[in-house]
């Protein structure tokens, strides 16, 4: 099968790979680049476990062709912690016990970060609707929502402090 050469930036570093035209970005990340933090829960864009940020937009990587990523900036869960330091969202997820099995967690973290990047002071309702595309079957969402609100508050403080 004819393969396409794709050049991207993943978590700030250049990344190239060969893909077949039908291959999704999710499969390219997992199988070609070995970045297995993004998960496949459904393959139809209904669970959000494969969430990544593509050129600044939150997307389901299972609904993007790898070939479409040519020249794009891709951010995945693997790039969230910086220099051995967990991102405040990751830290709050741990403190609030906002995960049980943890399978949906990378997608929820990527989606939550995308929310706080555009809306640093979301209401509970705004958080719930923004995250409606990220299914979690373990937690009932309660602790996840609290963790995101708490992380948002901490990030606001950091900003004002800075």
């Amino acid at each position: 099968m004819s393969k396409t050469h794709v050049t991207t930036t993943v978590n700030g570093d250049p990344a190239e790979f060969l893909v077949s035209p039908r291959m999704t970005l999710l499969d390219a990340l997992r199988d070609e680049l070995g970045l297995t933090g993004a998960k496949e829960g459904c393959g139809s864009g209904d669970c959000g476990a494969c969430s990544v940020v593509l050129d600044g937009r939150l997307v389901c990587s299972c609904l993007v062709l790898a070939a479409e990523a040519e020249g794009c900036r891709i951010e995945t869960i693997e790039g969230m912690a910086q220099g051995g330091q967990l991102h405040p969202l990751q830290q709050k997820f741990l403190e609030h016990a906002a995960l049980q099995c943890g399978f949906c967690t990378p997608g929820l973290l990527v989606a939550s970060k995308a929310l706080l990047d555009v809306n640093p002071d979301p209401t509970e309702t705004e958080v719930r609707y923004w995250l409606a595309g990220n299914l979690c079957r373990c937690t009932g969402y309660d602790k996840i929502i609290r963790a995101v609100m708490d992380a948002a508050a901490e990030l606001r403080q950091e900003r004002t402090a800075a």
Binding site: M1, S20, R22, R30, L35, T36, G37, A38, K39, E40, G41, C42, G43, S44, D46, C47, A49, T76, I77, E78, M80, A81, L86, Q90, F93, L94, E95, H96, A97, L99, Q100, C101, G102, F103, C104, T105, P106, L109, E124, T125, V127, R128, Y129, L131, A132, G133, N134, L135, C136, R137, C138, T139, G140, Y141, D142, K143, I144, I145, R146
Partner: protein
């Protein structure tokens, strides 16, 4: 060995670790994407395995032609049921959900003469790529002779129903039937005189309630990588609730030695009971043996819905008789549960739990286990209990309305307590049901009035909780840190509780204890993680192993001080010399560990046990809903769940279990259901139309932890994971009854049904 710890529960005071909320030891891996789940592992040279599934709900397999698939370049193996060892006689094996039928398991993994549900596996291929594997599947020619199918449980019980199996004769009836039937078994639990009881009743309510089949809905699809060595030694990497269960089942299905299979547990992305059996592993192993390469298999979400889980759809008939003061004097409950393609619905536990919260002198509970042309049901959180509780708790709500009693009063009046004989037999000990009712009565939620247009519902639930076989090892490092090894996959944070219990006994900070879940060759046998047994039973093994380590530490200190071991005591991580004559400074665990080589060698201990005496759990749930009068859309606006948890080892994860169970129950009540077309094909095999609750569907869920310690656990723990899914179905339905003034007996309470019910009332 089998033992029951009779020591009293440790007092809440004097505990340094248990009851606190440390960060879970596996947390960093899970928030950074490093944690490796079933599909995140690869072996060099692995092939892609795929399964061909039946398009028919019920059909005879006339022939399977795999030649065109085998001829396709890149295809390394093609197998069918004929390639598996045959099962002439049935055989029961332990290891999973109590005893399972070997033959049924094997036939579910790969169909033999007949396909029994849409999605039933009929053949499998292994190829060098996903595309080639899919192409190969499309080249397998299966000739079917379709047969009439049956999905509705009552239709399947009818005398003229299409028969799934000709070897099933209804068990549990006085005389063995002479004709085969879809009714695999009848369960009965009875006490007193039913006729007398109803005769003495001032008020009688009767109802017929139904629930639909629902799926566990774990977000991680089943996945495994299997390698069959030329020497017959096999390696399995799989996501499951029990690596030893996978080992036993694979060995039996494939007819090999248990010790030839090593199963390494991957991180598991949710199970809820649905990963207490095998689907892919034996197939992947056989493909590996046939091809000579490792084989990786990952289910699609559609396959997960069509071929795994779900739990039963059921019919619940309830008749209750009570005195005018609310005392229930008679109860008759009949349960009809879909088992799916093979016997084994959870109607047994459904029947045993149905009246477990009530002290009723006269009752008869009958349960029917019925095979249907749907996927073989798998355990789902408190298997069977939510279904019977939906009927009984709706009926109790009706009774309360008739008698003008409030939802708590009628339950208090009939509540079971210590010394009362449970409807399923045993006499209760150390239960916290009344305390849990009191906690709700005392809650801000119960005391807050409803807004106009809202309805409030209350329901209660019960689960036995179980113990069982577990092995745990505790090893000290020479620097005084510790490793805790168990064979119990961590599906909800149990590594945290294991580390905490060990740290409590050893007197170490929890950060210095690293908990691991070992593969089947590296730790002794442990039953699967399920039935809310792990913190109780495996926790008991961890505690006893830690106590052995402490005993050894004291012995080493005694040697060093040259005193009898009886003169040494362990206090807060230090050996203390009781012999005043010796002016001996206490020795820390670290000091003793550092000297272990010179004092007798490494310090470590392993305990294998079969824990008995798990404490039963009770939950009381309170739910407020709003109903859109023009569309019938129901929204849950407030929810509070109280539960007796014995003692919460890590309160945050106990709350999480409660909140997660509530969310699953609310989904079951409002939107989740298997929808089949006229041909018995599932119409909504995906997360789009199988509607699990999303974040915006739910309010915060208040969890109230009631702690009535279980004296048979060193820290008083009771299982917590099952109970929370039992009350929500009825709690939501009772709330909708309150909001619209009409009883809705058929789940799910989807908008069209609710609107129709409101019309019925208006008209």
């Amino acid at each position: 060995m089998s033992e029951t710890l009779e020591k009293p529960a440790a007092p809440a005071s004097g505990l340094n670790v248990v009851g606190t909320r440390p960060i879970r030891p596996d947390g960093a891996d899970k928030v950074t994407g490093r944690a490796a789940y079933g599909a995140d592992f690869n072996m060099p040279g692995q092939l892609v395995g795929k399964i061909l599934r039946s398009p028919h709900a019920h059909a005879r397999i006339v022939s399977i032609d795999t030649s065109k698939a085998k001829a396709l370049p890149g295809v390394k193996a093609v197998i069918t049921g004929a390639d598996f060892p045959p099962f002439l006689a049935d055989e029961l094996i332990e290891g999973g959900e109590a005893a399972s039928s070997m033959r049924d398991l094997a036939w579910n993994v790969m169909a033999r003469a007949k396909v029994l549900y849409e999605g039933h596996a009929v053949a499998a291929v292994a190829a060098i790529s996903n595309d080639i594997a899919e192409e190969a599947l499309s080249r397998i020619v299966v000739k079917y002779e379709t047969l009439p199918h049956v999905i509705d449980v009552e239709a399947a019980m009818a005398a003229d129903a299409p028969l799934l199996h000709d070897h099933i004769f209804t068990a549990g009836v006085e005389t063995k039937p002479d004709k085969p039937s879809n009714i695999a078994q009848r369960h009965r639990f009875a006490r007193g005189d039913l006729a007398e009881g109803f005769a003495a009743a001032d008020v009688i309510v009767e109802g017929r309630y139904t629930t639909k089949a629902t799926h566990q809905g774990y977000i991680e699809p089943h996945a495994c990588v299997c390698a069959w060595g030329e020497d017959g030694r096999c390696d399995v990497w799989a996501s499951s609730q029990g690596a030893f269960m996978v080992r036993t089942y694979c060995a039996k299905v494939l007819g090999v030695e248990i010790s030839d299979i090593r199963v390494t547990p991957a991180e598991i992305g949710g199970g809820f009971g649905g990963k207490t059996t095998v689907y892919l592993e034996p197939v992947a192993l056989l493909l590996s043996r046939t091809s000579g390469f490792p084989v990786k298999m990952v289910m699609s979400r559609e396959e997960v819905f069509r071929a795994t889980g779900p739990t039963s759809g059921g019919v619940i008939l309830v008749k209750l008789g009570a005195k005018s003061d609310g005392t229930i004097v008679a109860a008759e409950v009949e349960l009809k549960y879909q088992a799916g393609a093979f016997p084994g619905s959870p109607v047994g536990p459904g029947a045993m739990t149905a009246l477990a919260c009530y002290d009723i002198p006269n009752f008869l509970i009958t349960g029917w286990d019925v095979v249907t042309n749907t996927p073989k049901v798998a355990a789902y959180r408190a298997p069977g209990a939510p279904i019977s509780a939906f009927g009984v708790e709706s009926a109790v709500d009706e009774l309360a309305l008739k008698l003008g009693l409030d939802a708590i009063a009628i339950r208090e009046k009939n509540a079971v307590k210590d010394g009362v004989k449970a409807a399923y037999g045993p006499t209760y000990r150390d239960i916290g049901y009344l305390e849990t009712l009191a906690a709700i009565k005392d809650s801000d939620h119960w005391k807050t009035a409803l807004k106009p247009g809202q309805g409030r519902g209350l329901a209660v639930g019960f689960w036995f909780n179980v113990g069982g076989e577990s092995t745990a090892a505790v090893h000290l490092g020479e620097d005084g840190s510790a490793v805790v090894v168990t064979g119990s996959p961590d599906i909800g944070g149990s590594r945290a509780s294991m580390a905490m219990m060990a740290a409590e006994i050893l007197g170490l900070p929890v950060e210095r204890v690293r908990p691991m879940v070992a593969d089947t060759a590296s730790i002794g046998y442990s039953m699967l993680t399920g039935g809310s047994r792990t913190t109780f039973a495996t926790g008991m093994a961890v505690v006893q192993a830690a106590e052995k380590v402490v005993a050894e530490l004291c012995a080493r200190a005694a040697k060093l001080w040259d005193v009898p071991v009886t003169a040494v005591e362990w206090r807060n991580g230090q050996a203390v010399c009781l012999d005043a004559a010796k002016d001996a400074k206490p020795m820390s665990l670290a000091t003793l560990a550092a000297q272990s080589a010179r004092t007798g060698g490494p310090i470590s201990a392993q305990v294998a046990l079969n824990a008995q005496g798990a404490g039963p759990g009770f939950g009381v749930h309170l739910c407020d809903v709003e109903v859109d009068a023009e569309t019938g859309a129901v929204s849950v606006v407030r929810y509070t769940a109280a539960q007796d948890v014995g003692r919460a080892i890590h309160p945050s994860y106990v709350e999480g279990q409660v909140q997660g169970g509530v969310a699953q129950g609310v989904g079951w009540a409002l939107n989740e259901e298997y929808i089949f077309d006229a041909n018995g094909k599932m119409e909504n095999a995906g997360f789009l139309d199988y509607r699990m609750p999303v974040a915006s569907d739910l309010p915060m869920i208040d969890a109230i932890l009631v702690e009535v310690p279980n004296p048979r656990h060193p820290f008083g723990a009771k299982g917590v994971g099952e109970v929370p899914i039992v009350p929500p179905l009825a709690a939501v339905a009772n709330a909708v009854r309150g909001a619209i003034g009409v009883r809705m007996p058929d789940l799910p309470l989807s908008p069209p049904k609710v609107l129709a019910a409101m019309d019925g009332k208006a008209g």
